[in-house]
Each structure stands twice: as structure tokens, then as C-alpha cells.
């Protein structure tokens, strides 16, 4: 029993409290505070790594990651449109959610590795930032086509200046500019409290997830299947990418988790403004009601297993040659 991280229990506690319709509630301002700290911390971690390593070393990896950020929603879209029979806007919006990443899921994966003493490349936090945005742009194009009417300046504004992306980028630049020693003085708030803040965040996500569960039956079985199969497939892609980039087992598992995760902060906000005709309940039900709990409860250990076995496979192959 001890093998489940306490932050996961916080999520389950929130889920239970929400499902039982308890009076337990976090004020939205506290949710804002907690998610701000989470986003800033992850941005800071990514930025510190940028400061630690020569930019040229990271650049090739960064290019590949951004490229995958553009590709992933393109894989999801036809499935949603042709098999799921969703309309164009809904398909595009859900595809954008799954192409992008979930900061909460990332944080849980990091906690998982830390608890087990599994090493991973610290610059994974940088990948979170990189994977956040491309899927949003692809989603908008998928919904509207490359029409000239699209006000790309406005879209760019919405995407880059949205709360989630701003906090991540702001943390990234501050971490980069200050470097590891500069950030030390603010580490008690941003780093020491991180797991506790994550626990509160997951408690709130549990409460919110519980309200999403109600919409589940309305949207039927396809959404449930999609919300479980997609992370599995994307995690395989992520494992392959991680191994191809030469990441460690821990790093590969985290990258697989990122691919498998679906956004519920930055992308919903951007879609609501840029693809308003998409039904937000649909994508949130899938990403928050199904994929998020699936990933943090079952996915992460599984993706860790993917990464370990993927690497053993590579090693064996190399020996065989």
C-alpha cells in the first residue's frame, strides 16, 4: 500500500469527496494560487536546466520534441472525426488537448521517479513547455483550415499570453536568467513546498474530475475508449522518441507520460476563445475525467515499464548485431 504516492491519495480523496457531494471545496482563488505555483516551479526547473547545459546540446532534442508536438494532434484528429463521428470543431479541439501536455500529470511522474530514486534528465521540464503550444496551433488550423480570415495575431496572443503558457514561460526565463544558484533563495517556496502544493492541486483536480464524471455516460463509450487507448499509443511513441533521443529510462518514461497526457489548463482556455464552436465539456470529460486519472493511477507505472523494456530491447539488439 505504501507504494502509492500520498499525492495520489489526495487526488482519490478529492474524487471521493466530489462523488459523495460533500461540502468540501477549495476557493477558486486558492486553486489559482496552487496552479500558479505549480506552473512557475515547472517553468523554473526547465529554465535552470537551460542555464546548466550548453544550448547547442539541447537544441536537437528540442526540435524533435516540438516536431512531435505538431504531429501528435494530427494522429488523433482522423480517429475522432471518422471513427468517433465528432464534428470538425470537436475533433480538432480534442486532438489539440491530447497533442498537448498535462502539467499535473508531469508533476506526478516526477514524484514517481523521485520516490523510487529513478534518475531522469532534469530538462524534461523544458519539454513540458515545448509541448504545450504546438498542438494548440494545429488544433486551430484543423478546426478552421488555413483560411485567411483567421486572425493569427489574435490567435498567437491568445495562445502565448494565456495564463498557463505565460506562467510556464515566465518561470522558464526567470530560471534561465537566474541560474541554479540565483534561484536558491526562492527555492523554499517553489521547490521545497512543491510536493505539498501538488497534493493540494490534485485534491482540487479530484473534486473537479468528480464533476466531469457525470457527463461521461452522456458522451458514451467511444470517449472512454479513446481516453484510454490514445495515451497508450502516444506513450509508445513517446517511449520510442525517448530512446531514439538517447534519454535515460527515467527520462524516457517521463517523455512517454508527457505524450500520453492531455491538457486541461492551457488548451481548454485557448480552444474556448479560438474554436468556440467546439463543446468544451466533451474534451474536458475525456482529458480530465478519463485520461488524467488513468495516467496517474495506472499509466505512469506502465510507461516506466515501457521505457525499461524498450531499453532492454535496444540493448539486446545492439548485442545481437
Amino acid at each position: 500500500m505504501n507504494s502509492i504516492d500520498p499525492v495520489i491519495w489526495f487526488f482519490l480523496f478529492g474524487l471521493f469527496a466530489g462523488a459523495m457531494k460533500s461540502e468540501l471545496r477549495l476557493p477558486s482563488q486558492i486553486y489559482d494560487f496552487v496552479s500558479m505555483l505549480l506552473l512557475l516551479t515547472i517553468g523554473l526547473k526547465g529554465g535552470i536546466e537551460l542555464a546548466n547545459q550548453p544550448f547547442s546540446t539541447l537544441l536537437p532534442q528540442m526540435v524533435v520534441i516540438v516536431g512531435m508536438g505538431f504531429l501528435l494532434p494530427l494522429f488523433a484528429f482522423p480517429v475522432l472525426k471518422h471513427i468517433g463521428k465528432f464534428n470538425r470543431a470537436d475533433s480538432a479541439s480534442i486532438a489539440a488537448h491530447y497533442g498537448s501536455v498535462s502539467v499535473g500529470t508531469f508533476a506526478v511522474a516526477v514524484a514517481y521517479m523521485n520516490t523510487r530514486g529513478i534518475e531522469f534528465e532534469e530538462h524534461m521540464a523544458l519539454f513540458v513547455v515545448l509541448l504545450e503550444i504546438p498542438a494548440i496551433l494545429v488544433g486551430i488550423i484543423l478546426a478552421r483550415g488555413m483560411s485567411k480570415e483567421t486572425q493569427w495575431a489574435t490567435v498567437g496572443h491568445e495562445v502565448l499570453l494565456g495564463k498557463g503558457v505565460m506562467f510556464l514561460l515566465g518561470g522558464l526565463f526567470i530560471g534561465w536568467l537566474s541560474g541554479p544558484s540565483g534561484v536558491e533563495s526562492i527555492s523554499p517556496l517553489f521547490f521545497d513546498l512543491f510536493k505539498g502544493i501538488l497534493a493540494l492541486f490534485l485534491l482540487e483536480m479530484g473534486l473537479i474530475t468528480a464533476t466531469q464524471l457525470g457527463s461521461l455516460k452522456r458522451y458514451g463509450v467511444f470517449l472512454v475508449i479513446f481516453g484510454i487507448i490514445t495515451p497508450l499509443v502516444f506513450a509508445v511513441l513517446g517511449t520510442a522518441t525517448g530512446l531514439a533521443l538517447g534519454l535515460s529510462i527515467g527520462g524516457t518514461a517521463i517523455l512517454a507520460t508527457l505524450f500520453a497526457s492531455a491538457s486541461y489548463i492551457a488548451v481548454p482556455a485557448a480552444m474556448r476563445i479560438s474554436v468556440p464552436e467546439a463543446n468544451p465539456t466533451l474534451s474536458l470529460t475525456a482529458s480530465l475525467g478519463i485520461t488524467f486519472p488513468f495516467n496517474i493511477l495506472f499509466g505512469i507505472p506502465l510507461y516506466h515499464w515501457f521505457a525499461s523494456n524498450g531499453q532492454s530491447f535496444l540493448v539486446l539488439q545492439n548485442i545481437g548485431q
Binding site: 477558486s28 482556455a269 474556448r272 474536458l284
Partner: protein, 102 residues
């Protein structure tokens, strides 16, 4: 209170629309507005206000009857299809009616 021809237009809608709506309202000629945070339920389901995605705002605009009608119609055309939104209008008396319409 010397005037009965001023309207209070109230809009309840998604918080995500705040900056857009303010833009629209000001461009149509409103000289002011008041916003409070809200939550609620309507035809588009429960909006519990527990996080950004489910937060509502309540915008009040005091203005002349024509402008009230114009704003309401504009919002209906532009947002009703895709957003949780309700608008209603009532009569109010103000001390200096010319403060609220050019």
C-alpha cells in the same frame, strides 16, 4: 430622481469572455460597466466556478434603452450559439442620466 428612461443591462456569461465582451461593449458606446464573479446553472449546464473553465461573470451596464437593445442584440448574434450566456434588462432611475449616455 428625475428620469425613467435609463436601463440596466445585465449579462451573465463565461469568465473566459471578459476581455472580449468589455471590448465589444465599449466599442458599441457604453460609458462604463461593473463586473462581479459568479457561478450558476443554465441551459449549458452547471458552471460551478471552482476553476477558470467553469467560472461565470456578471456584467452590468447602465445605459440608454437604445444602446441596451443594441448591445443585447450584438451579444446574441455573436455569442449565444457557442457560449453560456444570459442577458436581461430592467428599468432604473439614476441621479444624472446624462452620465450614462452621450
Amino acid at each position: 430622481m428625475n428620469n425613467n428612461n435609463t436601463k440596466l443591462l445585465t449579462i451573465v456569461t463565461e469568465a473566459a469572455l471578459e476581455s472580449r465582451l468589455i471590448n465589444d461593449i465599449e466599442q458599441l458606446g457604453a460609458l462604463g460597466y461593473t463586473i462581479t464573479n459568479a457561478r450558476g446553472k443554465g441551459s449549458r449546464g452547471l458552471r460551478s466556478g471552482s476553476w477558470e473553465a467553469s467560472a461565470n461573470i456578471r456584467i452590468e451596464v447602465i445605459c440608454g434603452p437604445d444602446l441596451a437593445k443594441q448591445i443585447a442584440n450584438h451579444l446574441q448574434k455573436k455569442y449565444y450559439d457557442n457560449y453560456a450566456m444570459v442577458t436581461f434588462t430592467s428599468d432604473v432611475e439614476v441621479l444624472r442620466p446624462n452620465k450614462f449616455s452621450d
